[in-house]
Amino acid sequence: MTNTMPKIIRKTSPYLRRPNANAPRMMRDVTIALLPATFFAIYSFGLPALWIILTSIVSMLVTEYVFYQIQDLLQGESFKVINKQFSLYNFSAVTSGLIYGLTLPDQTPLWVVALSGVLGILLAKLLFGGMGQNIFNPAAVARVLVVVNFATLATYQTNIDGVAGATALSMNNADLFSADVLNHYPIMDLFTGIGIPGSIGETSALLLLLGGGYLAVRTSFEIRIPLMYIGTVFVLALAVAIQQGLGLWYPLYHIFSGGLMLGAIYMATDPITSPITKPARVYYGFALGVITFIIRIFGALPEGVVFSILIMNMFVTSFDYYKVTHPRFNRKRSLIFIAIIILSIVVTLVGVSYAG
């Protein structure tokens, strides 16, 4: 019966792989999840938003392409138009570029966008060895480069009443616990993002959550990180609200304003720059929340999200250190963790009572 004998080759077990699981799909899902927020950004900020997003994506892609071409040439390989390592196909550079673009203020000059994008991906990703090797989130690094180098150039302009240089959060920065802010930005508007100034992609909490829901269904991100992150900010703000006699609007206002949703759902969950085990991811999300909240109410900057992400990126290796890491929760670690949660609430409240 065996007319043509196939060649029998040898491999090692297992011989099956999980269908529908691949890294490009994971990255692509993040891009897809961001599309509603992207379209909303273009709708509310007009063409400048489109140009910013395009510039950020193209700057990162071109940098990566040129970098790998140069690397290949230095290694003495002949020029190929399609480079093997170039990650257009696995969507990681596109995703970074899109997230970076969405974190920018609408008045950012395009050359600032491009320069920071190039530096961001070069310093944070390519020099570390490419996809999977980086310890800092490229989008966060690029965003921080804009903040520290070009703060005066990248300004906000509201799309409704035209007050330049103010977001909902920087109002808060000037006067810590005034309900006054609600007159400018009602909670409902903060949630939907209609008429709210801010970075182009971060205004609508609703659409960002929608994308998060999509990612959760596709299991393309670790849902524990954003839950812990947003939850921590909410709980800390709630504690402050109770202490200062503010209403429930205060914690809601904290989680809906600024880049928290964008950062928590799309930047902090980048698997490459977050810890590996379940418990460590919970701790990581919690730490992000604490740092963000502390920068928000005590720091000089209105926004703590990207900074907290970069700070915690540095500690990922210690979360993953082989002598302390454990893939499951156990009683002792959980008790310590609960103690740390209580401690951080206390520290925040003491700090607030001194600041107030």
């Binding site: 029998i8 090692t12 297992p14 691949n22 999977g132 393309s220 590996i276 890491t325």
Partner: protein, 433 residues
């Protein structure tokens, strides 16, 4: 794709519902003289000698035990040749040419029930030793050593979970011969003086549940035998996992289940124990699955031990012609061993041969998604072990307990980047041994 994933697509529908094909009269059989546990052997027969079915033709020597070798058909002894073994080495095999008379050796006589009722542990151990019974699920561990335990055993568990994809030989065995399994369990319980027996099956295998419960109710209602249905995930058939889910007993790494009062046998082994005790038969035949997506007619077989796989592949109408490259896997697709040729034979411990088309998976860099850490049944961190292997950091491999890996293959199966993680962990195990 960050999630704990223990569902492995099982492809058992290829063979599960088909009747078992009996193929007991091959032209020749080849009997392994060496195997993974026994390196040397003595042979009592020469070329041209006539042997009967079930006759002892030699003995294998293991490190601390001996294993008689039995003829599985009647016929004349042929040459000693080399054949591939599951371990990947070529080992000596003796050929027996079938005379199709099927004459039984004089030792193969039924043991009457009133004699069996009087057997105690030592007698049973002696029978299993004489009949060279080993773990037929693939481990090949001598069953008499297990049975000779001095610990008090409270539960005997028959492992019929068969969690590997594609395999359905245990399934067919229970459907066709439930009594052998139950009687085998009864004998083990009698030997160990144990009150509680348990047959563990997968939750989604309803026919098995019905067959077993009906037979137990009608004929063996005096025995305290329970049929438990365990979760439908991989690697549920891992003995430690079976004990944990069926009995709630957690056996820590490195300790023997016996010291926790529980003993497990594979379902084929249990049927083998029945045949050894009742009919004085060594393991001469077994249920065997020949399946895969690159073979024309996947089928379960009842075959003599020693049947050539090439014969069986011919029985199944050969390879599909659509593929240039195929894998021939002995054992399941998650833990089995791939061979370089189909010139292999069914040994006692071969549960299946799976012929798969060769799929090349495109490997991406690790994105640290953590699926392997979430999914690992032994609670290891495969990706960290992989990184340690890449750095050749043996301390780290030890601290991450790479030696606890059971090589179930789940980490590579779930990997989002299609990295062969299991291979790295295997390497770590070798390095720190």
């Amino acid at each position: 794709m960050i999630k704990k994933s223990r569902k492995v697509r099982d492809y058992k529908e290829l063979t599960r519902a088909l009747p078992t094909q009996t193929y007991l009269d091959p032209e020749t059989v080849y009997i392994h003289l060496q195997n993974g546990r026994c390196k040397t052997y003595d042979l009592y027969v020469d070329e041209g000698d006539h042997v009967d079915f079930g006759e002892v033709i030699g003995v294998r020597h293991g490190g601390f035990f001996e294993q008689p070798i039995h003829a599985t058909i009647s016929g004349t002894i042929g040459k000693i040749g080399k054949k591939l073994h599951r371990t990947g080495r070529k080992v000596d095999c003796i050929e027996i040419k079938n005379d199709f008379k099927n004459t039984y050796h004089k030792t193969i006589t039924d043991r009457p029930d009133h004699v069996i009722d009087k057997l105690d542990q030592d007698d049973m151990v002696e029978i299993l030793k004489q009949k060279a019974l080993v773990g037929l699920g693939g481990s090949g561990f001598p069953s008499y050593i297990k049975l000779a335990t001095k610990e008090t055993i409270n539960h005997v568990v028959v492992n019929a979970v068969e969690c590997e994809p594609y395999l359905s030989s245990d399934y067919r065995l229970i459907l066709d011969r439930p009594e052998e399994v139950i009687m085998g369990l009864k004998y083990v319980m009698q030997a160990l003086n144990c009150e509680h027996g348990m047959i563990a099956i997968k939750a989604d295998k309803n026919p098995l549940y019905e067959v077993l419960t009906q037979v137990i109710e009608r004929r063996y209602s005096d025995l305290n035998i329970e049929v438990v249905r365990l979760g439908n995930y991989y690697p549920q058939g891992w003995e430690i996992e079976v004990f944990k889910n069926a009995l709630g007993i957690e056996v820590p790494h490195g300790e023997l289940p016996m010291s926790y009062g529980v003993l497990g046998f594979n379902v084929s082994t249990t049927a083998g124990i029945y045949n050894a005790v009742k009919h004085n038969l060594p393991v001469v035949e077994r249920y065997f699955t020949l399946t895969g997506d690159a073979i024309n007619y996947p089928q379960n077989y009842r075959v003599r031990v020693g049947t050539s796989i090439q014969d069986l592949i011919r029985q199944s109408d050969g390879y599909k012609e659509d593929f240039d490259e195929v894998l021939v896997v002995m054992g399941g697709p998650m833990m089995g061993v791939s061979t370089v040729s189909d010139d292999v034979i069914v040994s006692k411990t071969t549960t299946s041969v799976i012929v798969l088309k060769n799929t090349e998976y495109k490997e991406e860099p690790c994105v640290r998604c953590g699926s392997c850490v979430y999914s690992c049944p032994a609670h290891l961190e495969p990706v960290q072990i992989m990184n340690a292997v890449k750095r050749n950091d043996k301390d780290q491999m030890k601290s991450l307990h790479a030696d606890r890996c059971i090589e179930c293959g789940l980490c590579a199966y779930v990997c989002t980047s299609k990295i062969h993680v299991t291979d790295y962990v295997r390497k770590a195990k070798r390095l720190i041994r």
